[in-house]
């Protein structure tokens, strides 16, 4: 762990990634203290200062009702990160457990579980989430549910493939021979060997969940106003291009930077941990 971290710090690109991730996370956590207008995260209007190009103290300009864009972006990070973490906390255990079961037990269990996974994988991810949002009310909670529903199958696939490979390894056979229970073999023998791959994928995915969630809200199917959200900010601002360019450019870049940071770290982790998908 320490060694991994040391290697990450040595490579300039992964260092950049770590810095970005740290800045994004810290700013989201301490949003109340670092943003100039914390109240602007909610339903506030300030028509005296509406639609302003970037100028002090509005470093990224203001939106159409006069709210500070920088403040709203930082708060949107907070929402995105919460969403990303919740989605992964829900999706990863489900996906991993199903993948382990299907991969280790085989037979009918494998057939049923993997067909179920295929059903989810046979619909483009964004379309699946969209159609779920179509019947659910577009709220943050439902957004998480929709994204979770499209996310777990990928972990099932990953762990399924890993489990099938690990199953043949000597240490698994050894555990079976000395009479270890199936649960023990799955969770205490095989699972620990899948952890590097899972962790790597989670780092990369934290970025991609932010990306997908912003796509949903961009289409008006995600978080609803007045909650700040990067995707819906871009969507709202796009109507006022090119004159009020800051309305779209800054939230757009905010997504880009955050996802880029997570990708840099995830990529570096993959190389260091030697975890291949």
């Amino acid at each position: 762990m320490k060694r991994t971290f040391a290697i990450l710090l040595r490579n300039p690109l992964s260092l950049l990634g770590l810095v970005i991730v740290a800045v994004v996370v810290l700013s989201a956590v301490f949003a109340d203290f670092i943003t100039p207008f914390p109240a602007h995260a909610g339903a506030v209007v300030d028509f005296a200062n509406f639609n302003k190009a970037p100028e002090w103290p509005y470093v990224m300009g203001t939106d159409l009702v006069g709210r500070d864009l920088f403040t709203r972006i930082v708060y949107a990070y907070r929402i995105s990160l919460i969403l990303g973490v919740v989605v992964l906390v829900l999706a990863v255990p489900v996906g991993v457990a199903i993948g382990l079961l299907a991969g280790y037990l085989g037979g009918w269990t494998e057939y049923l579980l993997m067909r179920l996974t295929d059903v989810f994988l046979s619909i483009p991810p964004l379309v699946l989430a969209m159609s779920m949002m179509g019947v659910l009310e577009p709220t943050l909670t439902n957004g998480m549910i929709a994204v979770t529903a499209m996310w777990w199958p990928w972990y099932t696939r990953l762990v399924y493939n890993l489990t099938r490979a690990e199953k043949e390894e000597g240490y698994v056979l050894a555990a079976e021979i000395i009479g270890a229970s199936r649960l023990h073999v799955m969770f205490r023998e095989i699972l620990p060997n899948c952890v590097p791959s899972i962790v790597t994928k989670m780092t990369l995915d934290l970025g991609f969940v932010i990306l997908i969630a912003s796509s949903l809200s961009f289409l008006g199917l995600g978080v609803q106003p007045p909650t700040p959200d990067l995707g819906s900010m871009v969507a709202d601002g796009a109507k006022y291009l090119p004159d009020s360019w800051w309305l779209t450019v800054f939230p757009g870049l905010a997504i880009l930077v955050a996802v880029f940071g997570f990708n840099l770290v995830g990529d570096a982790l993959r190389e260091v941990l030697g975890a291949e998908q």
């Binding site: 690109l13 067909r115 295929d118 059903v119 989810f120 046979s122 619909i123 483009p124 991810p125 964004l126 379309v127 699946l128 969209m130 159609s131 779920m132 949002m133 179509g134 019947v135 659910l136 009310e137 970025g207 990306l211 997908i212 912003s214 796509s215 961009f218 289409l219 008006g220 199917l221 995707g231 871009v234 969507a235 796009a238 291009l241 090119p242 360019w245 779209t248 450019v249 757009g252 870049l253 997504i255 880009l256 996802v259 880029f260 990708n263 840099l264 990529d267 291949e276």
Partner: protein, 318 residues
Amino acid sequence: MLIFAIARVIPGDPARIALGPNASADQVAALRERLNLDQPIVVQYGRFVADLLRGDLGVSLYTNRPVTTDIAQFLPATLELVLVSGVMMVVIGLPLGILSARYRNSWIDNLVRLVTLLGVSAPAFVWAVILMLAFAYFLPLFPIAGRISDTMTIRTVTGFLMIDTLLAGDLRAFSNAAWHIVLPAFALALSGIGQAARLTRSNMVETYDKPYIEMAQSYGFPERRIAGRYAFRPSMIPSLTIIGLDFAAMLGNAFLVEAVFAWPGLSRYGVAVILRKDLNAIVGTVLIISAMFLIVNVIVDLLIAFINPRIRYSQRAS
């Protein structure tokens, strides 16, 4: 096989959609009755499959037209966009990956990796907005929106403007349509280009460690041919499935780009029906897109069989 696969997709969807919690209860109850949603799921499913087999997806509550008519109107524009993006993904992404792998750990490699990582780090709509600002507003090289200039009228045959204009023999209209599609297609393709390049690179770097590449090098096969053939082709076997999935994901991401460039495709229809909870239309749209998705996957499987003799021979034997 295809029908079986599609049938496998269906059970989840109407049921899941039907079971969703409802906004305004009265309205929805009436709607449920009209759509036979009050009946047991098995009955619904039976009816649905029966209708589907007749090519009937029901009537859209939003447009009051058969869903198939609506889809037939909007689908070609989306498909045209996705196909052009797919071509860009392959034509730009794979060579970048090959270049990166051949000069691995050099500055070229680092540059390509950085750029492609940026490519996958933003959703298509962000790229759409950035490209639009840069190349349509500040540098007015490309049109801002639409599929073709309003002054041009083209008889619809296939719905694919780039084909229709060619059929009409109108080269000016063809180049106009091509000119309109460049930015949206590139915005849509960027993450696919990034994915394809990254995947190609990582698989090729692995292949470069194989004994048969060392053999090719020690026999002095030209480096260009090693990169373009002897290392590339075996590397494509694991990559192709994922590249196929990325291509298919464009069908969904097209929604994002269409919204920015006012592209008259399935997106606006899809979002509109989703917001109106127009069940038949939602199911129809999802179904069509899933069918496309499946078709792409079948094509990918065929391609894999084509480049992997092992699969080709095992199938011939069985």
